[in-house]
Symmetry: C2
Subunit: 243 residues, 2 copies
């Protein structure tokens, strides 16, 4: 059976303006690969109602899972929950279970559960909550859309509590073969091996390091034996001792 296919939606003006460097994409990509879920597309959109709603609709109908990051805090620019509810056609309001989590947290920490913070208890009808062990305010899963916070420590904790719930596929394994020769020197033989071993994926990622041109060849597949076979062929055909 094919692995589930996923997309990620990163929400936030601060990424698009270059003010903040997104870290959540790289984190989620690694975790999904380990879980056997194939990340097939990422989109980054601004804190804009139309942009978020359109992207959620498009990705939710095209992929098995959509993971979002950002825009679920207490301030005026946190509009993700409302946009996801609208995109999925679900009513949204303050939900008692989420409100109770917040009330409990703020009582313990001695802060006030004011109107702004209550916004974080707005959860679409039919959604299940995603635990937030860092700062309490929960994320949620509505249909195939999983809504999480943008602050990296909270995002990572939410991913950790969400992923075991989702049914993954066969984890994708990879082997990297470092070839210290320019891509142009190895491209023809690499292409031939890739077409002969078409059950595997072969990617070529060039690097320049200290004036040296080289390439990391990444082989991907689900069988450790086939990966080892491919590594041996690449080393023989492209390594330093190759003709």
């Amino acid at each position: 059976m094919a692995n589930p296919r996923a997309a990620m939606l990163v929400i936030g003006d601060e990424i698009l303006s270059g003010r903040t460097r997104d870290a959540n994409m790289h984190h989620l990509a690694g975790k999904l690969t380990e879980a056997g879920i194939d990340l097939k597309e990422v989109r980054v959109v601004p804190d804009d109602e139309t942009a978020i709603t359109d992207a959620v609709r498009a990705l939710s109908s095209a992929f098995d899972h959509v993971f979002t990051s950002g825009g679920i805090g207490p301030t005026h620019d946190d509009i993700t929950a409302d946009c996801v509810a609208r995109a999925m056609g679900a009513p949204i309001g303050i939900r008692e279970d989420a409100r109770a989590i917040l009330a409990d947290h703020y009582e313990r920490t001695g802060s006030e559960l004011n109107e702004a913070r209550l916004r974080m208890a707005r959860i679409p009808e039919g959604a299940s909550l995603i635990e937030n062990p860092v700062s309490a305010a929960p994320g949620f899963s509505l249909g195939n859309v999983h809504v999480m916070a943008g602050v990296p420590s909270i995002f990572e904790a939410m991913v950790a509590s969400l992923l075991p719930r989702l049914i993954g596929g066969t984890p994708l394994l990879s082997e990297t073969v470092r070839i210290e020769r320019p891509e142009g020197d190895i491209a023809a033989r690499l292409g031939q091996i890739a077409s002969e071993m078409s059950d595997l994926g072969f990617g070529s990622y060039p690097f320049i390091s200290g004036g040296l041109y080289g390439s990391n060849i990444v082989i991907r597949g689900t069988s450790p034996e086939r990966l080892a076979e491919a590594r041996a062929r690449l080393e023989q055909a492209l390594g330093d001792d190759a003709p």
Copy 2:
């Protein structure tokens, strides 16, 4: 006049698998903001013909500029140039000007301009070349799509040679006000100021640092005077001494 609106398309399985952390998005975002071009969307897609072609078509018709990164090297998985040509309806083949640049470079460096490397001279008809001072093989602009390499040092050099050609708008300025109070404490007053100064953009970016919850409020606009005014209002309303 409104600023030009741009999108970026990052191409590469290695980003989506979590193997590589993308650096080009953050670089381009900063440079476009300086140039007065508003980056409004980023998509990351795999080395897949349909995914690339569909994304180029969608972004090229929705935005003033599209910047791509990745997939223009000599190996079998470098299919960006062909996909962009197909998406834009342009014929593609080895172009004499690009071939001359490569021939000259490989003669100087003592390498062979073989069939694989010649692939990098495949440039769509009607495109103008983007200079590559690092490793010679050029990028290109076809219509409003600007095709660049994925290796960060080359991508950055190409952006530097491309941007002066494009007509930017009024550079967006920003001021960051650090508030060492949790978002939930300041959200109501922040929202009010944001609605009263609606010619500016106000973003709230929470942080957790050493157990301290705080928020960076980023104000964006084109007038330095208005930014200073907004900073003063925020500091008065939300700072440590605020009621």
